[in-house]
């Protein structure tokens, strides 16, 4: 803990301050009966879920570990308003049916007070109707969850890492400001993610007065020659990729073979394992002019991220000793759990589901983890809409100056 304090930790300090204030507050959490399930004088139950098995495990396990370590830390400091956080953990397998089953179990069987989970957007959207009907505050873990965030609802909050709608707009903003790009090549997926990020990319391109040459590809594509030839024919100043890692590797390889020299920017959708990306591309030369988007407040090994990494190593020494751990997505879980604890804290000593949801609707705080503030608003249920960029040469990442923020807003 001493070591953590040595760093500038706005989020942690905010959490500590709130916890200390709550612990010292003369009003002990109300005694007696509570109108909502999952809350007693001494505990508050939170349903935490993510894909913990199957191929999507890589997206959810470490963010869930991170959220858990944040909750444990809060408990060690006395809990929230004297109540210890009791976690009920479920595996949602990243599928709609399993996530709905997990949510129903948590709400009806385990009687949790609120929900914190979900790493897969489509699956998270499946729970929307149930969550709204039961009026349970639901904060997504690291799913972008755009499908459940727009149009905004009263009980669902997500995009804590970043919403897909923010991803595309920010990438365009970066290439215009950083490279003075006028013609932008843009390769996205022909799925929901692709449609969402393209929407804001087009918005930002229009705002900057630059052109966008778009190629939408299937996430399972095996030959990217055709889209790359079309992109090359458009002769863009810079190429943005909002694809997953596997298609990104194919594109980088082919771009290198075709002699594309312009900067290539890969958004956070494809940056889960950069070491693997280099291996898949097969040559570091393809990364000569390559940039990656990240949504945390520093490079992964930068000083601002140190406290999270140290905390993770302390809590999970065995896991931290494994290769590629913590995963790049790990810190997102901390920000998501912070969102929950901040809302519970601000809801006062006798929180109800309704009061917590009301707090969440206008909650704004500095996480000390993510690139921008976590902030919700009237028509905005996506918490984080900023990112940083790093130049990656196949080995090292160098932080580029500036934090870029999406200016797209949802119009009801």
């Amino acid at each position: 803990m001493r070591r953590m304090k040595a760093f500038a930790l706005p989020g942690l300090i905010a959490g500590l301050a709130l916890s200390t204030a709550a612990a010292a507050f003369p009003i002990k959490a109300g005694q007696g009966t509570y109108q909502d399930p999952g809350i007693t004088d001494d505990t508050i139950k939170i349903g935490l879920f993510a894909p913990l098995s199957g191929p999507a495990r890589a997206y959810g396990e470490d963010p869930l570990n991170a959220a858990r370590m944040w909750y444990e830390m809060i408990n060690e400091m006395g809990g929230i308003w004297g109540r210890k956080i009791e976690l009920v953990i479920e595996d949602d397998r990243c599928t709609a049916n399993d996530l709905v089953a997990a949510v129903k179990k948590l709400v009806e069987q385990d009687q949790v007070f609120m929900l914190n989970g979900g790493s897969c957007s489509a699956a998270a959207v499946a729970a929307q109707e149930y969550v709204l009907r039961n009026k349970v505050p639901y904060v997504m873990l690291n799913a972008s969850g755009d499908g459940a965030l727009y149009p905004p609802t009263d009980y669902i909050f997500g995009g804590i890492s970043i919403s897909q709608r923010a991803v595309g707009g920010i990438a365009v903003d970066f290439v215009v400001k950083h490279f003075n790009a006028k013609k932008i090549g843009y390769i996205n997926h022909d799925d929901a993610y692709g449609a969402w990020n393209l929407e804001t990319a087009e918005y930002m391109a229009k705002e900057h007065g630059v052109s966008l040459s778009v190629e939408s590809i299937n996430p399972n594509i095996t030959d990217v020659t055709a889209p790359m030839l079309k992109i090359r024919a458009a002769n863009p100043d810079v190429l943005i990729l909002t694809t997953y890692a596997r298609p990104a590797a194919l594109i980088l390889k082919r771009a290198h073979e075709l002699g594309f020299k312009g900067p290539i920017v890969l958004t956070v959708t494809g940056t889960a394992n950069l070491k693997q990306l280099v291996e898949n591309v097969g040559t570091k030369d393809a990364f000569a002019n390559f940039y990656v988007q990240d949504v945390i407040n520093d490079s992964p090994d930068g000083p601002k991220q140190r406290w999270i990494i140290d905390m993770y190593k302390k809590r999970y020494p065995d896991l931290a000793a494994k290769p590629d751990h913590p995963t790049p997505y790990m810190p997102y879980g901390v920000a998501s759990a912070q969102t929950v604890t901040h809302a519970l804290m601000l809801a006062g000593p006798n929180p109800t589901r309704e009061s917590v949801a009301r707090i969440l609707r206008t909650l704004t705080f500095e996480s000390g983890v993510m690139a921008g503030m976590i902030s919700f608003g009237e028509n905005d249920r996506a918490g984080q809409e900023s990112s940083i960029f790093l130049k990656f040469d196949g080995e090292t990442q160098v932080l580029q100056p500036g934090v870029y923020t999406s200016r797209w807003t949802y119009k009801p």
Partner: protein, 310 residues
């Protein structure tokens, strides 16, 4: 097992099914609804693979047709739920008939591959036909209304799902005992022998495809009665394999086997969620043990026990 013990078991199961919504939480009733859907899916696939011996792997595609047809007709055209669900059954059956007609000359691996391709193509359609299916965003399903009663919860949907399942089980038992059911089994055992016995093999195969698809379409309508969302990712090959596993574990060609297989696999899937680190291994071990020690499935094992006991 004596006749009396069968009756006692049936009465106990019936009482459990009736009391379930009174005793179980929404989560338990949701699982029950899902398992009843699995039962109908398994019964349908059992007609094709277990009864007729045709290795079709497009079952979940027809399930999707049932779900999407119901969701689109109720959501966009305000068609009453029962009519929409019936339309899903008919459409799935009609496309199944067509697929059966096209592929009736194929056998074994070739039939499996061609139906697999159809299943994959249908998932692509669900994922790509944005204007109709809402593509990769998934589609919200409007809450069903039955006789003026709005189905808002899993408890509300349970009587409909249960009643439909019972009707379908009864129809399946009747079908098995019918002339057509005997024709299916004759085709499964030997096509030349069936032909020699005067069975119209082509007709039997095509009808088996259509019926199997219609069952899947019905399962889709049932799913749409209690679920509020469908995503194309839920209609992939993994789901197909799950249903195939259900009828294999239960016992190919057996109605009780398909039912028990669906219940056991459905329960195992849910229980294994509590052991995320080991579930793939445990699932694999369970399947291997079944194949090694119960090659005729649960139905075969229960039959052996009954014979020994009585």
């Amino acid at each position: 097992m004596t006749r009396a013990s069968y009756i006692v078991a049936a009465v106990a199961a019936g009482a459990l099914l009736v009391l379930l919504p009174l005793l179980g939480s929404g989560y338990i009733v949701y699982l029950a609804n899902l398992m009843l859907v699995y039962i109908v899916l398994a019964l349908g696939l059992n007609i094709l693979i277990g009864e007729t011996g045709q290795f079709g792997l497009a079952h979940v595609a027809f399930y999707g047709i049932g779900i999407y047809t119901t969701a689109i007709l109720t959501g966009r055209f305000d068609v009453p739920f029962l009519i929409a669900a019936a339309a899903g059954v008919l459409l799935a059956g009609a496309i199944g008939l067509l697929l059966g007609y096209v592929s009736f000359r194929m056998r074994d691996i070739y039939l499996a591959l061609s139906t697999f391709a159809f299943g994959e193509a249908m998932q692509w359609v669900y994922r790509s036909w944005d204007a109709v299916t809402n593509g990769p965003n998934g589609m919200r399903i409007k809450p069903a209304e039955l006789f003026g009663f709005r189905i808002a919860t899993d408890h509300d949907a349970y009587p409909f799902v249960l009643a439909t399942t019972i009707i379908i089980i009864a129809a399946t038992v009747w079908l098995r005992r019918s002339r057509l059911g005997r024709a299916f089994r004759a085709v499964r055992e030997s096509e030349p022998a069936a032909l020699a016995m005067g069975v119209d093999v082509r007709r039997a195969k095509v009808i088996a495809f259509a019926l199997s698809a219609a069952y899947a379409g019905a399962a889709g309508g049932m799913f749409a009665s209690f679920s509020s969302f469908i995503h194309p990712d839920s209609l992939g090959f993994t789901e197909t394999i799950l249903v195939v596993t259900m009828i294999v574990v239960g016992g190919l060609g057996s109605i009780p086997g398909a039912i028990v297989g669906a219940l056991v696999l459905g329960a195992v899937q849910e229980l294994l969620r509590q052991a995320p680190s080991y579930q793939e291994i445990l699932y694999g071990v369970i399947l291997i043990l079944f194949m090694m020690y119960l090659p005729k499935g649960l139905a075969g094992a229960v039959g052996n026990l009954a014979r020994r006991a009585g």
